[in-house]
Symmetry: D2
Subunit: 459 residues, 4 copies
């Protein structure tokens, strides 16, 4: 009955339930749920929601890309995450051509160890496929890396061909791993890029033109077809548009084990942003690009129907000054990506729950429970139940915050949501039983995040 920490008087929310009770925490884990606990430390959550910590399964911290590196490393990035109510993440370790997967994993572990303030796992992005790599995938799964990513875009660097995709899918099915795909047709993008640049179309706006909806739709359908041929499950990352969603929906209607995520940038931003003056459009240069406004409704509907199971961030920040401006005269040189690790939970709550687009349980489901379940983090992460890690967000549903890069903790000089007002915000964040964030201050230990050996995919 003597707990290390008791969260009192809050309204506990899981993917299916909402109720009032107290949470007892012992040894970093949830010991029980009952109004009778006493504890050394007590957090009074009266008037607050208590959510399971957010799980972000799509981040790029300290990633070398297009001649630079994403500007948040595991130190800054995980603290920003915690401020935003995210208490665990899965990042992408990118295989360099010629490297083994073990080498890749080792490289990325080094980036994170001692730096991360929340728990983390890794997917490996396979870019160079051969017999030995195929074999090595099994070892990775044993080490807790139970998902592999493939790029259908970025011709000439990260892109792999259909034969490689099929082999990785077959092998993943065998060993209990999940394949994730960046689905855009790299061939088409490559030609369109050359055509646009040869016509002198060098402004950020043309990034969107070079990455049309049809390139994404095609790649989504192809990836699904190859997964079906391999009888393997598939996870589509960062779906940006209605046409891609339709392919996903059709696959799911057929009963195929196809899963998908979308990201806040596709729900809240539209392609008018590319017209921001003074190179401002560069903030939104990412792949796939943000789309015409009508897609937003379709994506919200995809969340409602369950065709999207996960909201992730694809957090991949670059400074406008010194990084994005590498593409000042040629949009194809702008590092692709935008920040979002800190704003996901507040945005989804404010625009999702407050605006009546989803129930509060659905919000927990897509931001925490589902990503944990699909990527092998459950039941350690993703819910509030005895035995789970004590990753908890005390969330004030009345707190209004005006988003600005100046107040956020991401290491980057802009946010795409600058000036947007959200209602509802994390006020205290507990990670593995330790209070890390308290009313706008980071009060916990730094660098205590652990590598998570993830479970095999269960579907």
């Amino acid at each position: 009955m003597d707990m290390d920490l008791v969260i009192k008087n809050g309204t506990i929310v899981t993917a299916s339930d909402t109720y009032k009770s107290d949470i007892g925490v012992k040894n970093g884990k949830i010991a029980g749920i009952w109004k009778g606990f006493e504890g050394e430390k007590v957090i009074d959550a009266k008037g607050m929601f208590v959510f399971p910590g957010g799980v972000d399964v799509h981040t790029h911290l300290d990633m070398p890309f297009m001649g630079t590196s994403s500007s948040d490393d595991f130190a800054t990035g995980t603290i920003a995450a915690a401020f935003g109510g995210t208490t665990s993440l899965v990042d992408f370790a990118i295989q360099q051509h010629g490297d083994s997967l073990s080498q890749t994993l080792a490289d990325w572990k080094k980036k994170a160890e001692g730096k991360a303030s929340i728990d983390y796992g890794f997917h490996i992005a396979v870019t160079d496929v051969n017999d030995s790599i195929i074999k090595e995938m099994g070892t990775m799964v044993e080490e807790g890396v139970t998902s592999f990513k493939l790029f259908l875009a970025y011709k000439g660097s990260l892109m792999v061909d259909d034969a490689a995709i099929f082999r990785i899918l077959e092998r993943s099915r065998e060993i209990g791993a999940l394949v994730m795909v960046h689905a855009e047709n790299g061939h088409l993008i490559d030609i369109l890029t050359k055509q646009l640049l040869s016509e002198g179309k060098s402004a950020p706006l043309y990034h969107a033109e070079a990455h049309p909806v049809i390139a994404e739709k095609e790649a989504v359908e192809r990836a699904i077809a190859l997964a079906e041929a391999a009888s393997a499950p598939l996870y589509i990352v960062h779906t940006s548009c209605d046409d891609a969603l339709k392919g996903i929906k059709q696959a799911r209607e057929k009963g195929l084990p196809v899963y998908a995520e979308t990201c806040p940038q596709y729900l809240f931003l539209d392609d008018e942003k590319y017209k921001e003056p003074n190179f401002g459009g560069a903030k939104y240069v990412m792949s796939p690009p943000i789309r015409a406004k009508r897609n937003q409704n379709a994506l919200w509907k995809g969340i409602k129907t369950g065709d999207f199971q996960v909201i992730s961030t694809d957090h991949c920040p670059f400074f406008m000054k010194g990084q994005k401006d590498m593409g000042k005269d040629d949009w194809s040189k702008i590092p692709n990506g935008c920040p979002g690790i800190e704003t996901r939970i507040p945005l989804m709550y404010s625009e999702g729950v407050v605006k009546g687009r989803m129930s509060i349980n659905k919000f927990v489901e897509i931001c925490s429970a589902n990503p944990a379940k699909l990527l092998g983090l459950y039941p350690m992460k993703g819910t509030i139940a005895p035995g789970s890690d004590a990753d908890l967000v005390i969330f004030d549903p009345e707190k209004k915050v005006t988003l600005s890069y100046k107040n956020l903790h991401q290491n980057v000089d802009y946010t795409p949501y600058e000036g947007m007002v959200v209602k509802g915000y994390p006020v205290k964040v507990v990670v593995n039983g330790e209070l890390k964030v308290d009313d706008g201050k980071f009060v916990g230990k730094r660098g205590t995040g652990k590598f998570i050996k993830r479970n095999r995919f269960e579907g």
Copy 2:
């Protein structure tokens, strides 16, 4: 810490979570979930699942119909329910032509009070619509009757026309009620019935021919259209076939608040049964009828995709001897209905979870959480969480039972599942904190079930 009852060592399952802990029960409610409780009474659930009690929102107990009455009353029916792991139900009070709704409710309360051994609520089936009835619907909602049923079938008795349906839908939206429809085209069935009988086709087999799939599909689509016109939510009861499901799916894809249930009889039986010799086909005479085998897969898929949210029973038993045999020479005189209140949970677990068609959480969702949420019983019923009623099923996943009417507790001389072997069975059932069923015996008090004032529909 001193509980009235503690369920120890079980694996607790809700619509989203599965974990091991103990449940403390006090004053008929769940007090907490923690391994530290002590209690006056203890149930050891080692090796067992602990489910929230089943919720059956479609039963017909003690219902006058076709010149007789369904053979289970609230005494026998609720005990059978408890044996089968169902701990609350919502029954249909049927308005007699000329009666007020208050009269109808009073009549049905009288049938249940002091007899029911589990909690119960009522929907009112409106069969005689006029201005005063429309007005009275508001009073009913205040008394906790927050759903109304309409029949598009049974021309000349229960059927109401499209104008009445539209009015009831509009009124329900206004007052926070949910409209449920029996969706079959009564005009078409009436003609087909006359045509078949005039051709001398009097065997039970022809019941199915008189109730074709198209009659159901049409009525489903019409009900949805009228609900859309009225901007009202709609709940389709006992969906039997793929074509009807397709209409439901389309509506949901459009974002309409359309909900639906199917029943075990449509998942497990097919129309070959009507050929059982010696009038055996009469056991399966119900409306809609059981369908061609290929529909079963479609219905299972509808559960998987979430197009069906609820599994209910449409429990409406009649003895073969003395009741069904009223239609010996004319199938149209066979009382429509079959028993199922006791077998729902075992069948869905055995054929659903054990056979890999759904996760154990999904099973809880469709048999307990969703019916509770959609029909205004949540959070009293439908989950295991502090504050909820202590309706709990201790379920042995290894127990094999051969279903037979002789061992079941339903007051009827057959079960459509005679001889079927199920794996997994409720072994102890707790209702409002009291152990009612213990290893095949009814050990609790009888007649303690209470009328539930249900919440308004929230969508």
Copy 3:
């Protein structure tokens, strides 16, 4: 080689072919196609298209309705038709309650005989169904009335119930007739009408509100379901909107023999028209009403995909002064309908062919060949081939005409297309080998049109 009439130098167009040659006419029929003919009379069609005469299978001439009669009788209406390039029509004979079908046919024949200047047939609209009417349908088919119409709208006057619809469908299948339906849900319209009027909403605008898209969609789907149940072919008249079209498309995808028409008013007008000041909205009061603009694209697409086979007019004119104004204070008293018999061909050519929405062969197919084939007029009507009736339109593709009721020949004081400029117009019209219209003048004999015994439906 000596022809009564030779059409020289024109470009002949049929539903599949376009070529230059001459047409020889003898005894009112096409004798041959060859550049070598000589003839008593010669029409030089250089630079002109020669089309088979238009076939309009949906007209209401001299029809008693809502306390008045449509303002074109068979004399004025058929002359207007000829001016517009339509050389045969099928009109609706409406059964009065209590009348036999023979009586109905006799009544309508009397209206037409000696008055019509082009050939005509009749559908019978059955409004009062009983055993003797069902039987009499067979006689009608033998007399060349091979289609029957049913109203799902107009509750209390023309509407029949689902039982009647099903019986008529079954009987029609038996005797080789085609059932046509006016598909709007009369129950729903009736209530909405009462509600709107009780709220003081009496302007023409509210006619549209009382006839929502969903009422049409529902009725289309219901009619299709009943036809499927009866294994009978079905023809949906005057489809006005995308949602109704979707139902038709689905049925056709399933392989059901479902056919449909739309009308120019639904392709060219939208519901903003109801806001015309000074009771101007009354011009567009028809059922179904004209719809929101986005439906127009959908309907054009329906033509392209073949889901609509026919463009008809639903020509049913009423004078604004003295007829439409009966509903000055109550839109529900405005006689429903609008004129169009004269403008169909020019509008479809100008907006369809000239604007690139369809080929010239498709234009002939939907305005002439298909209506002739589906309604049993082919091969007498609907094509240019040896043996067919010499109903020919010499059409100047360069002639521009500004449509105005002042220049049109319809007996009514407005056209919904007032001021619209069309490119392409009939300049000479030949009916049964006789030149009827010549450069804006009616030069032929009047009243020579014959009743056409139509063939059975062949599908």
Copy 4:
């Protein structure tokens, strides 16, 4: 009036009309249609249908492939075609790597000139794409080669990548050409082939396993996506299965200019054939392979709904002895293809028209009018109208023939339809006004076929 040839008393059938008249032929062309012609030669077609000559737009005559050549050259192949009622064809000239398109065209013209007995055109299959080839496409169109084919299959030999496909599509749109695709995913087939062979699966049966439905479906969807990106029309050749058809249907529903053909082998044969003993399965080794039986119904429906516009043959014969047996020990070495140029018309009439699956006009449309229109041969070919080439088939609807390679004129030692009885057969075939085939004998001049400069694609 004095004709070179008159076809008397026949029933003339076009894509839209059926009527009795006589056809006058002068100078190899149709002069007129009239019962009054006299002529030097007269063919009495009493009791016969007169069809426009069949147009086969997918043949491989004298084609070098897989180390051998297809066994019919332009001499034998065109005579076989004529016997079967086909009077013009478009063959594929295959670019050899390094060759210019002009060279390719010249090579293929040489194969045909002086040998072909019916008129012929060429598509060019582009296999080696670079800037100069892209440019040269314009020259080809001017020379009457207005369609280009691309292979998404045959990795390592004929296959081109998505970038090349997109460029060819863009260029084709510019110059008025039509792109045709062999849609199967070559990457997937290549891996599956290697896997199967490495497992010792060397029998013909495994050819089908290496070419799964999903490989075709994927490639169809990808080709459509690339065509949409390029705003170019697209023609899918030899569609074999329902899943591929669905992709085509969806594109057409969207309004994309996507066209498709299927072939008799996919309508009449199923994959049980691969089990024929003694290497018999090799007869059916073609790409895509023949499919599971349920696809046949879907393909017939695709004809009915208009999603297929064309029936072609993909005639590509190889002798079982000396050619197919190159793959005796390894199915991947069996030359792909089967004969069919002679049997298309009889099969489609007998199984299509006689069995009630299509009207006789539809039969003419898909076997003659549509291929002529889509591939730029109309109005020279594809119809019976004054001005068109006098390519005519006098067809006896009552003649029964048992198909056997012994009686057919294809230069190959089997037919996949051996022993099948067809009802209806061409009895006299006229090519450019000359009687070529008369009651089973070739009576015309040989080698008189001309190269056809085809029109640009018009859509």
